[in-house]
Each structure stands twice: as C-alpha cells, then as structure tokens.
C-alpha cells in the first residue's frame, strides 16, 4: 500500500500532468487508506494546481493546459469533497464571477474562477452571457466581497460599466470591489469605467483580488 506522502504526490502530479483518471484513482486509494480528505485536497490537488499555475506564470503552460489540469483537480475533488468535515462558507471571502451579457466566451472566466477557488476564495460562478442586474442581485444576496467581470468582445465591454453603476444604485458599491478582464480590456479601460482593478491573466487576478481585499 502507498504511504500518505506517495498518494499526495500522485494527486499533485496527476493534476500537473492533466491525467484525470489517475487523479480519480489516487483519490479513491487515498480515501480507502483512511487518510483525511482535507489534506488530500490541500496538499495533493491544490498543490498540483498551484504548480500548474506556476508553470502558467512561467509560460510553460497555457490556458488550455491549465483548464485540463483543473479538470483533473475537479475529478479528485468530486471524490474527496464528500468526506470533508462540514464547514460553512461564512468565513471565506466571496466573489461573484461571470461573462457579461451578450458574450459567450468563457474560457478566461473559467480559468480565473479556478485560480481564485484554488487560492481559497468562495466563488459563485454565474456562467456566461449573464444579465447585468444578476451580478448585483447575487452580490447582494451572497454578501459578496468582490465581483469579477469578463468579456472578450468589444461590443459587450460597456456592460461592465453598467454593472458598476448598478452596484452604485443598489448602494453596495463601497463594499464590493470590481475586477475586470478579457481580451480587449486594459488598465486604461478599468480606470475609465471606475473599476477597482484589471488583471491580464488568471494568476494576476488572484494577486489583484488579494491586494484589493487586503489578504496576505
């Protein structure tokens, strides 16, 4: 039988190597051996995802690679998560994320969500082509700390500014940080529409969220 360390290594390596079947198998063996699910997630799966994100930052891995790594991570999470002790999300910093209305390109958004989840944020994913008011409603309902808006299209960029105005109208702009990103977006545009920050990629998005929310 493999030791806990060996299994954690297999979980981590499986994520980096995008082998979701191996990860699922290792996760099951890990549980069967009676090791705690929490360590399997943090020291195995999340460790692998952090390594993948490091490779992404070093331009060894690209968007497609990281998405496949995350598929492997989620395959392991599906097995380990039911064995986690009940924890509420109350203590976690919550973000709402989605692609603004009119746009269906969601690769970048998915990547940012994965990275933020890996970094410990509680992310509520509204998906793609999201009605603008939905961001505000959800931020209110979930008492969110930040909202992430993404678009790849020049024609839908204006929706981001509308969300900011809607947050103001709802009286929650001062307690909800707004981060934006996507192909045609820039820091200049973020400044223009009054967003709190722009990030060029998913790794930067995590750094930005931590900076905006004063998280070490």
């Amino acid at each position: 039988m493999s030791s806990k360390e060996e299994l954690l290594q297999r979980l981590s390596d499986g994520v980096v190597e995008m082998e979701e079947d191996d990860v699922a198998e290792a996760a099951q063996e890990y549980l069967d051996a009676g090791y705690p699910a929490f360590d399997g997630i943090m020291e195995g799966l999340v460790d692998g995802m952090n390594r993948a994100s490091q490779l992404y930052e070093e331009e060894e891995y690209f968007v497609t690679d990281v998405l496949l790594c995350s598929d492997a991570m989620y395959a392991g999470l599906d097995i380990l998560r039911p064995y986690l002790p009940e924890v509420s999300n109350d203590d976690k910093v919550t973000g709402v994320i989605g692609v603004v209305e009119g746009d269906t390109h969601d690769i970048g958004k998915n990547l940012v969500k994965i990275m933020l989840e890996t970094a410990g944020f509680n992310m509520i994913d509204l998906g793609r082509d999201v009605p603008l008011a939905k961001f505000v409603e959800t931020a209110k309902e979930e008492n969110a700390d930040f909202v992430c808006l993404s678009t790849l299209m020049t024609t839908t960029m204006g929706g981001m500014e509308t969300v900011i105005h809607l947050l103001e109208e709802a009286g929650i702009r001062d307690r909800v940080k707004v981060m934006i990103g996507g192909g045609p977006i820039s820091q200049k545009y973020a400044d223009k529409i009054g967003a709190d920050g722009y990030s060029q990629n998913a790794v930067e998005a995590v750094k930005l969220a931590k900076k905006l929310l004063d998280i070490a």
């Binding site: 995008m18 891995y61 690209f62 968007v63 497609t64 690679d65 998405l67 496949l68 598929d71 209305e101 009119g102 746009d103 269906t104 390109h105 969601d106 690769i107 998915n110 082509d129 790849l152 299209m153 020049t154 024609t155 839908t156 960029m157 192909g183 045609p184 977006i185 820039s186 545009y189």
Partner: protein
C-alpha cells in the same frame, strides 16, 4: 522557425450597434438579424456610423454553427446573436452534424443581403468564422482542448469537416457578389492555445485550408485575414508579407478595396479597426509559402 506573436484585439475597434445607428431605421430586434432586407439596411447604417469604406455582414459569429444545428440566442438591439446552450460534448458528435444548407435559413439570408448590397454598389466584407469560433457555439471549449490532446487525429477530422463547410460558404459568397471575405478565428488565438497547440492547428489545418481558400481568390475576390491568423502563419514559417504601393495614404479598408484583384490575402490589421490608416501608402499582402 520564428517565434509566434499574438495580435491584441483593442477596444478602439468598431463599437458594435448603438442606439443612434438604429434610430430612424424602423427595425425591430432581434427580427432585424433574421431577414436579408433588414440585415442590408442595418449593415449600411453601421457603415455610415463607423465611416467605413465597406459594409460588413453578418453581425455575429453564429450563422455557420446555427446552420449545422447550433442553438442561438438572437439577442436584442444592443447584444447581437450568440450561442445559447451547447449541443455536443464529443468530437464524434461533431462529426455527425449535418452539412450546411446554404440555400436556407439565416446563412442564406446573409448571402442575399450581400447580393442586395452589392447591387446597390456597396463593397461588402463577409465575415467568415474559423473552426474554433464555430465550435464555440456547438461545444464547450474544454472538450475541444481535451480532444486535441487525447484524440488529435479525430480533432483534425473535425477541423476539416468545418473547414470544408467554410470553403463552400466562401465559394457561394462569391456567387452572391462578395469581393472581400474576412476569415477570423480569434477563439483559437495564441493567447488561448499557447504556442504548441497554435502551431499544431496551423500544421493540421489553417495552412492547408488557406491554400484551398487561395484558389477562390481572383480578379474580383480577396481574403482578409485576422492578424492573429497572419501572425500564426508567420510564426510557423508559412507566410510572409509582400509590399504594394497604394495610390496614396488611406484607411486600411480603402486599401483593401484598392487591392482587390491585385492581391490574394490581406492581414496586417483587424478589419474592424476601421480608423486604421496606412499613412505611408503601403499595403502588405500576406503571401503563403
């Protein structure tokens, strides 16, 4: 081999459809996106608003996918037609999709609108989508990337199935008078695929596809490449620029019109960047190796 570069889409490009464009046209949305008469009227209004040298059609990147069975949300005045839910989860399912019937549906209306505009003396840019953009309507991209890694031969078949449909569409467009066919596949850009996969796509598909498309160019038809495609070709050593002297400094779109019949491929700038000026009066043809 040269390093592959990426072209950054900017928000200085054409701003899409705004209320001031549609004012006075008596159009209702999304109905206006569905019929050739209204498509032509809207296209002309956008041309006037953008002060462009040409009319563009269609207003979205969903017509090809819809003609293959994709489900489309037609949208409204502000946000045009886009993908609704996906209909496939595997490359095998993609290979089973029907061929495009160019004589029916919205894709036929687009062709009719092109013809109408041409008959009115307009220059028309028909925006044709590449495989990643079409797939974006049909299947979640994660299945595409996974299949490219695990089943590359099967994905090559998928690319070519779509490629052959695109070629048929381009050929038919010529019969409807289209002189400028733009080809873009920004959903499969370097920033998304990474250099290795981007190179694989050029080797497996794009280069051969454009060789076939080249055969459609003639004294009345040229193809405008998205700069992302141009750079992917350059980065893999499959193309180079050749300079042509224009009659003077002019907008890129005007330069393209002047070069119809003289060059096969353009691709130095995004055609949506309507304000882009060729100040030195030099037009760069993309020459396939």
């Amino acid at each position: 081999m040269a390093e592959m570069k990426d072209f950054q889409c900017t928000y200085d490009n054409s701003a899409g459809i705004s209320g001031e464009v549609t004012e006075g046209l008596k159009l209702t949305f999304p109905d206006a996106y569905l019929h050739h008469e209204t498509m032509a009227a809207l296209s002309k209004a956008l041309k006037a608003h953008d002060k462009a040298a040409f009319c563009e059609l269609p207003f979205c990147h969903t017509v090809e996918a819809e003609a293959m069975g994709g489900i489309v949300n037609y949208g409204n005045e502000v946000a045009g037609p886009r993908a609704k839910e996906y209909i496939c989860t595997t490359p095998e399912e993609l290979l089973e999709l029907p061929e495009i019937d160019l004589s029916a549906g919205r894709i036929h209306e687009v062709l009719l609108a092109c013809k109408e505009l041409r008959e009115e003396g307009e220059h028309v840019v028909l925006q044709v989508s590449g495989p990643f953009t079409i797939l974006n309507v049909l299947i979640d991209a994660k299945y595409v990337f996974k299949a490219m890694r695990k089943k590359p031969e099967l994905m090559k078949e998928v690319f070519w199935k779509l490629g052959n449909e695109i070629l048929k569409f381009m050929e038919e467009a010529k019969r409807y008078g289209v002189e400028l066919i733009s080809y873009a596949d920004s959903s499969g850009g370097l920033n998304i695929l990474g250099p290795k996969m981007a190179e694989q796509v050029v080797e497996d598909f794009t280069y051969e596809f454009l060789k076939k498309a080249e055969a459609l160019t003639d004294d009345k038809t040229m193809i405008l490449l998205c700069p992302k495609t141009t750079f992917a070709l350059f980065g893999t050593g499959k193309a180079r620029f050749r300079d042509h002297k224009l009659s003077g400094a002019m907008a890129y779109g005007e330069g393209c019109i002047e070069m119809i019949g003289k060059v096969k491929f353009a691709g130095q700038m995004c055609i949506k960047n309507v304000g882009y000026q060729l100040e030195n009066g030099v037009f760069k043809e993309v020459v396939l190796e």
